[in-house]
């Protein structure tokens, strides 16, 4: 019961935060110079349309541009939001923003989720080893690898991988999330193709976040290893495997929150990786919508990411309570 009340409180707080972010992004993106109609008009002109024809053509798009005062637009927007309506895209001329965002989301989720999980597992394992063996060569090698990989910006990593494995030594496919001839669904060739096409982007993502996990886990383990109970466990003659379990469980706790949060930010997509590996996910969508000045699409994508972050925050919070007895409310 008490937990339920807390959950409701958190959800209300979250909804409030969503509202604030929605308001902020609503006004922010409308400050951006340029407008979608002009962008579309000039694209049409460069395709060889006559100015009159192009002007007429964009008139429909102009119809999707709000013409009320900014304040009236805002009220309208909030009203839509309450009804779970993110509005209509301008550059897609009327297609529902929710629909566009939802059709881009699966690609981001498969890509980044596998990247996050892979890098988390790898990084945490390596972090533990690096901490336990920190005076040995193996430990230093792991730590240095972590620091360097952590230091390499994600886009640099993606560029290098793309260059090496699709141009220099083309062993991985490039450009589509799966072979076009396959029928999407639960069949082996499709899933196989999906996995094969995802190798490079997932590896790029995993490698660039692996270092962070490693370093965080390492410092967490080192810190826990200095805790009294670890020394106590040793002095009580606990088996190394049990001792390891004590350390690992205590050390991984703080990483839980970060993990849950990174699952939330996952919805922001990985702009760089999607851009470089040509994935039609949320990151690319956001970038295109910014370039086209498609305000509803931008705010919609922003909002989705924000909601995901807030929800994952709440989940992380409750998860933490479940795994850490100290935080459990009496």
């Amino acid at each position: 019961m008490r937990e339920a009340i807390r959950l409701i409180k958190r959800l209300i707080g979250g909804a409030l935060m969503v509202l604030i972010v929605a308001t902020f992004t609503f006004f922010l993106v409308r400050l951006m110079p340029g407008n979608p109609v002009q962008a579309a008009y000039n694209t049409l002109i460069t395709r060889g349309m006559t100015p009159v024809q192009a002007a007429n053509e964009v008139r429909v798009m102009y119809g999707f541009m709000p013409h009320e005062s900014l304040w009236a637009q805002y009220v309208h927007y909030l009203n839509q939001l309450i009804h779970f309506n993110l509005g209509q895209s301008i550059s897609y001329e009327g297609v529902s923003v929710l629909h566009i965002v939802l059709s881009a989301a699966p690609w981001t989720i498969t890509l980044v989720l596998s990247g996050v999980v892979a890098s988390f597992l790898l990084g945490v394992t390596a972090g533990v080893v690096a901490a336990m063996k920190r005076s040995s060569g193996m430990g230093s090698v792991l730590t240095v690898s972590g620091s360097l990989l952590h230091g390499i910006p994600q886009f640099v990593m993606a560029l290098l991988l793309a260059f090496v494995f699709t141009t220099l030594w083309p062993i991985f496919p490039f450009g589509a999330p799966y072979g076009g001839a396959l029928t999407p669904g639960f069949n082996l060739p499709f899933i196989g193709s999906l996995a094969f096409h995802a190798v490079l982007p997932v590896v790029a993502y995993a490698l660039s976040s692996y270092g962070g996990w490693l370093l965080t886990m390492k410092s967490s383990v080192v810190s826990v290893m200095g805790d009294d109970f670890v020394l106590a466990a040793e002095l009580r003659g606990l088996k190394p495997s049990i001792r390891f379990g004590y350390i690992a469980r205590n050390a991984i706790l703080p990483l839980f929150t970060i993990f849950a949060l990174s699952l939330g930010f996952m919805f922001g997509g990985s702009v760089f990786i999607e851009n470089i590996f040509d994935y039609n996910g949320l990151g690319n969508l956001l970038l295109t919508s910014i370039n086209n000045r498609d305000y509803p699409l931008m705010t919609g994508a922003f909002l989705l990411i924000t909601i995901a972050v807030i929800l994952s925050n709440i989940v992380a919070d409750f998860l933490y309570t479940a795994v850490d007895p100290r935080i459990r409310r009496p």
Binding site: T25, L28, V156, N291, F302, V309
Partner: protein
């Protein structure tokens, strides 16, 4: 991460050498490992590059249409770009914007983060609630897309503007950490004593609490610098930010999207020059961070 409470450590503490100045101690720690010296040297070289680099070349770098994408040679040690300008010159002159903006970004991050964290942690109550809500807000908004949007609203001709935007979007984590440290420090005896003496709040915050977090903040400064470099170079790389002057991100963008460096070996030096510069700087910072860690963290110093 917040500072941990001191532990009942079975090993004896080795206090600092008496009368040893901070600088002398730092130098001793750096000298202890050659990698740290290398890191320091790299950082110093880049800093010099940022300060004096643009003075070495004319305002508009000379072009040479007969040496487009020339391979590395004596005249062009790192090859040339799409208009026959020396890549070395581009890297050197491009360093100033990148490094200065990153430094500004780190400063803004630290000033905002520390300031808000200190206020929030010291004043507690309503101020704390409000400031922490703002911090949550900053932490919740997806950072990179926000940067992209902000970058079109602002004009990034001046590195200070770029630094400001990077700083304003990046202080959330630091503010939280500083706040929780402040919260734990304000309960310590010496702070309570200072309050008992009737010292003004600003004095307690800036002269009693702040110095205790100096090391943590200093480490954050360096880490923020590298983070800011990646963010700004990334923005320029994506090609969504306006720019006036050459910088590393612009080089990457032009190399990939114009020069086809990913598709042809000819333009590769143009891509690799800024890339290697970034990697080198990363390496330098990583190597030097190790020393910094030890300078500011005596527990590590003794265990080394």
């Amino acid at each position: 991460m917040t500072a941990r409470t001191p532990k009942n450590n079975a090993a004896p503490q080795i206090p600092p050498i008496h009368g040893e100045s901070f600088l002398r101690m730092s130098w001793r720690v750096i000298k202890a490992k050659p990698t740290r010296v290398i890191g320091l040297v790299i950082i110093v070289v880049f800093a010099l590059m940022g300060i004096f680099g643009p003075l070495l070349y004319p305002h508009n770098l000379p072009i040479n249409p007969n040496a487009i994408y020339a391979p590395p040679s004596l005249r062009y040690p790192l090859g040339t770009d799409f208009e026959g300008t020396s890549n070395l010159a581009l890297v050197i002159t491009g360093a100033r914007y990148v490094l200065f903006a990153a430094l500004m970004a780190a400063l803004f991050t630290v000033v905002f983060g520390t300031g808000i964290g200190l206020l929030s942690g010291y004043l507690i109550g309503t101020t704390d609630t409000v400031l922490m809500r703002i911090t949550d807000f900053i932490l919740t908004i997806p950072g990179f897309p926000l940067l992209v949007v902000l970058s079109t609203v602002w004009n990034f001709g001046q590195p200070v503007a770029m630094g400001f935007v990077l700083g304003i979007t990046g202080w959330g984590g630091l503010a939280r950490a500083v706040r929780s440290q402040t919260l734990s420090l304000r309960e310590r005896g010496f702070i309570e004593a200072a309050r008992g003496l009737g010292l003004p709040g600003w004095h307690i915050v800036f002269f009693e609490i702040l110095p205790n977090m100096g090391p943590y903040i200093a480490m954050n400064l360096l880490v923020s610098i590298t983070g800011a470099i990646y963010a700004e170079v990334g923005l320029f790389y994506l090609g969504v930010v306006p720019f006036h002057v050459n910088n590393w991100g612009v080089m990457l963008n032009l190399a990939v999207f114009t020069g086809g460096a990913m598709e042809s070996a000819k333009a590769l030096p143009y891509l690799l020059s800024p890339l290697v510069a970034i990697l080198l700087l990363t390496l330098g910072v990583v190597l030097f961070l190790d020393a910094l860690d030890e300078i500011f963290n005596p527990r590590l110093r003794e265990a080394a």
